[in-house]
Symmetry: C2
Subunit: 381 residues, 2 copies
C-alpha cells in the first residue's frame, strides 16, 4: 500500500422497506450519519463514489454519482461504480485506489438500492443483469435457479442435507435479532427454513436473501486517521455464466481475492477475528467459508453446527439473509459491521467478502483495528 487509508466515518439506514424514500433520500440519510461521525466536515470530501446496481432498471435513474454529489454543498467530483451485488466493495476498492494515487485525501463511498417499489418479478428480472443475459437469462434462469443448481450439485458431491442447509439461515436470523439495522429481527428455526415455500429446488424462501431498500456510507481518508485502517483491498473475476466453469461448488474468484488480500495485508488467516461474508443464498455461505480457507471443501456447514466453538465469528450482523440485501449497499454495510464488531470485541482483524452474480466478481477487504491509533468511526449515538 502506498499510503495508509483509514475508515473515519460510517453510517447506514435501516435495511428493509422504506416506502417514503427514494434513492436520493436513502443516500442522504446514510451520508449525513457518516459525516456526523467523521472528524472532518462535508467540505473536506474530495470525491464521491456511489455503488448502485438497479437504479436504471427499477427507478429510471442512472448518473447517481452526480445525484450524490449534489447532497454535499460543494458538488465534488463523483462517479458510480457497478459490479452487480459486489458493487459496494468494488466502490470501496476504487476509492482506496484514488486515495493511494494522491488525487484525493478524503473520499465518501455510498452504496444505495431502492428495490421494494417494484414487483418481485420485475426485481428478479433486473437482478438477472448480474448473470450472462445471452447464456443464462435466455435459458430461463433466475438467481434462485442458479444457486439451486449450485446447491443440488454441492449436496451430491458432499452429502449436505436439507437440514444442514437450514441451519445457515436459522443462525443468520438469530444473529440479526441483535442488529437494530436488520430487516428481520425475529427468530427463525431451521425447521421453519425447511418448511418454507419451495423457490428453486432445493432452495426454499428462507434460504434466499430478501428484496430490500437501504443505503450505507463510509468516509475513507489518508489525511484523517481513525482506529480502523484498511489493510487489504482485492478484486478478482471469473466467467459470468456457470456454464463456462470447471466446477460450480467452489468459486475461484473468492479463492484468488482471498489469497491476494492475505498477501497484501501480511495477515494470516488465523489472525482474522470477524468475518462478514456474502450469503445471498444459504449455500453461498457454506461455499464461501471453504473458498476463504476456513474449512475444507464439504465442511463449511460445520461452522453453523456450533458457531461458538470457533475463535472467529461469521456474519454476526445477520448477514444478507438477516439484514436484508439492498444490493450495492451490502458491501459497504459489511465493512461497517466488521468495524463495529472489532470495536466491540477489542480484537484486531476483520474481513469482508462481497460477490457479484454467481461470484463472477469477488472483493475481499481486510481491516485492522488499533484502538490506540485513532478515534472510532462511529458516532456516539
Amino acid at each position: 500500500m502506498q499510503r495508509d487509508t483509514f475508515l473515519i466515518g460510517a453510517g447506514q439506514t435501516p435495511f428493509g422497506e422504506h416506502w417514503n424514500k427514494g434513492i436520493r433520500e436513502l443516500m442522504d440519510d446514510a451520508v449525513d450519519k457518516a459525516i456526523e461521525a467523521a472528524p472532518c466536515s462535508a467540505l473536506d470530501i474530495d470525491c464521491v463514489i456511489v455503488a448502485n446496481m438497479l437504479g436504471e432498471s427499477l427507478s429510471n435513474q442512472a448518473h447517481i454519482g452526480a445525484i450524490a454529489a449534489a447532497l454535499l454543498p460543494h458538488h465534488p467530483p463523483a462517479l458510480r461504480v457497478e459490479s452487480a451485488c459486489a458493487s459496494g466493495a468494488v466502490a470501496l476498492h476504487t476509492a482506496i485506489g484514488l486515495l493511494e494515487s494522491g488525487r484525493a485525501e478524503t473520499v465518501l463511498v455510498v452504496g444505495v438500492e431502492k428495490m421494494t417499489d417494484a414487483s418481485t418479478d420485475h426485481v428478479a428480472a433486473a437482478l438477472m443483469g448480474a448473470a450472462d443475459a445471452e447464456r443464462d437469462l435466455s435459458a430461463g434462469l433466475t438467481f434462485p435457479g442458479i444457486f439451486g443448481l449450485v446447491a443440488t450439485r454441492y449436496m451430491y458431491e458432499h452429502g449436505l442435507s436439507r437440514e444442514d442447509l437450514s441451519l445457515v439461515s436459522s443462525i443468520h436470523h438469530q444473529f440479526a435479532k441483535e442488529n437494530p439495522y436488520a430487516q428481520f429481527r425475529s427468530a427463525v428455526s431451521s425447521h421453519d427454513v425447511s418448511k418454507s415455500t419451495l423457490v428453486a429446488d432445493p432452495l426454499r424462501l428462507l434460504d434466499c436473501s430478501p428484496i430490500s431498500d437501504g443505503a450505507a456510507a463510509v468516509i475513507l481518508s489518508t489525511k484523517h486517521k481513525s482506529s480502523m485502517r484498511i489493510a487489504a483491498t482485492q478484486l478478482a473475476t471469473d466467467s459470468v455464466s456457470l456454464a463456462d466453469r470447471p466446477t460450480i461448488t467452489s468459486f475461484a474468484a473468492t479463492r484468488e481475492a482471498m489469497h491476494s488480500a492475505l498477501a497484501e495485508s501480511d495477515v494470516r488467516r488465523e489472525q482474522i477475528d470477524h468475518l462478514e461474508l456474502h450469503d445471498c443464498f444459504s449455500i453461498a455461505a457454506v461455499i464461501n467459508l471453504e473458498d476463504l480457507g476456513f474449512f475444507e471443501p464439504g465442511k463449511g456447514v460445520d461452522y453453523y453446527r456450533n458457531p461458538e466453538a470457533y475463535e472467529f465469528t461469521v456474519n454476526r450482523s445477520g448477514g444478507l439473509k438477516g439484514c436484508g440485501h439492498p444490493v450495492a449497499a451490502t458491501g459497504i454495510k459489511q465493512m461497517i459491521d466488521v468495524c463495529k464488531q472489532l470495536e466491540r470485541s477489542g480484537k484486531h482483524y476483520g474481513l469482508t467478502q462481497n460477490f457479484g452474480g454467481a461470484c463472477a466478481t469477488c472483493a475481499v477487504h481486510i481491516v485492522e483495528h488499533r484502538a490506540a491509533a485513532g478515534a472510532s468511526p462511529f458516532s456516539t449515538q
Copy 2:
C-alpha cells in the same frame, strides 16, 4: 501527477448500426485492436475498467466489467463505471487514478453501448436516466427537450439565429466525411439542418446526435511508454436538474474541470492544438467552446463560421453528431481521435471534453504528444 501515464494502445469499432453484434462482440472487436496496437500482450493487463450506461436498460446486462474480463485469457480484476454520457472519460479518469496508486501498471479501458436494438422511444426513456428522474422525467422532459430549453434561452440571451445553429452540425458532418469510423459520412448543408424535422423547438433532427452502437478501447500504462502522455484528467459535477442552476446557457462543470485540467497539466489554453468536445446537440458545442474559454459568452458559434481561421481544431473526427454517440464509448473515442490528430499534425497538445446529462458531470483530459518519447499507440493498418 504521481507517475506518468501513457496511452499505449487504441482501437474502436465503426460507430453505427451493428445488427449482428451485442455488447460482448463490440467490446471484443475494440479490445482486440487495442491489444494488437500495444507493445504488450493481453496478459500484461492488470485491470479492466468498462464504461457503459445503457446495458441494463436496453440489453438486460449489468456486470459488464466481468463480461469484459472474460475476453482476456486471465480474467483480470474488472469493474464498470457509469456517469451517463460522460462514462467513457470518467472510466479513463478512474483508470489513471488506479495506475497512479501503483495497484496496476497497465489498465484496459473499454467503453461500449448497444442502442439500435431498441425502439427510439425506449432509447429516449433510458437516456433520461442521465437526468433527474424525480424532477425532469416526471415533468415530461426528454434530452432533446432539455437542450431545446437551453437553445431557446441561449438564442434569447445572445441573439443566436437558427441559421447559426445549423452551421454547427453542417461542419461536424463535413469533418466526419474523412473519418472511416464515423456513422455518417455524407455532406449535410446548413440548409438541410434548418429544414430537418422539428424535434424539440428550436432543435431539429440534424441538431441531435444519433442512436448508435459501438465500442472504443484504450490501454493505459505507467510501465510501457508511447508518444502519448496523459497530462491531465479532471472531473467536476453540477446539479443534475437544470431547475437547480442559476443559468442554463453556461455549464459550471465544464468551466471547473477545464480550470483544474490546465492547472494540472501546466499547459496554457493557447497551447491546445486539437479539441474533441461533447456536441450531443449543436447548441452544446457552442456553449462548450465558451465554457472551455476559447470564446467569450455568446461567441462560440464564430468557430463554425470559419473553422480554418483558427490555430486549434474542433471535432475534426466529426464529433458526436457525425461519428455517432454510443454513449459510454464516446469519451474514449474522443481520446483516440485527439491522439490520431496529434500524430497526423505532429503537434503537441490535445484536449477532450465529455459530459453527462446536461453537463451534471464533466471530464476534461489533456494529452501531450512527444513523438520522440515513444511509439504510436495505433496499429499500422
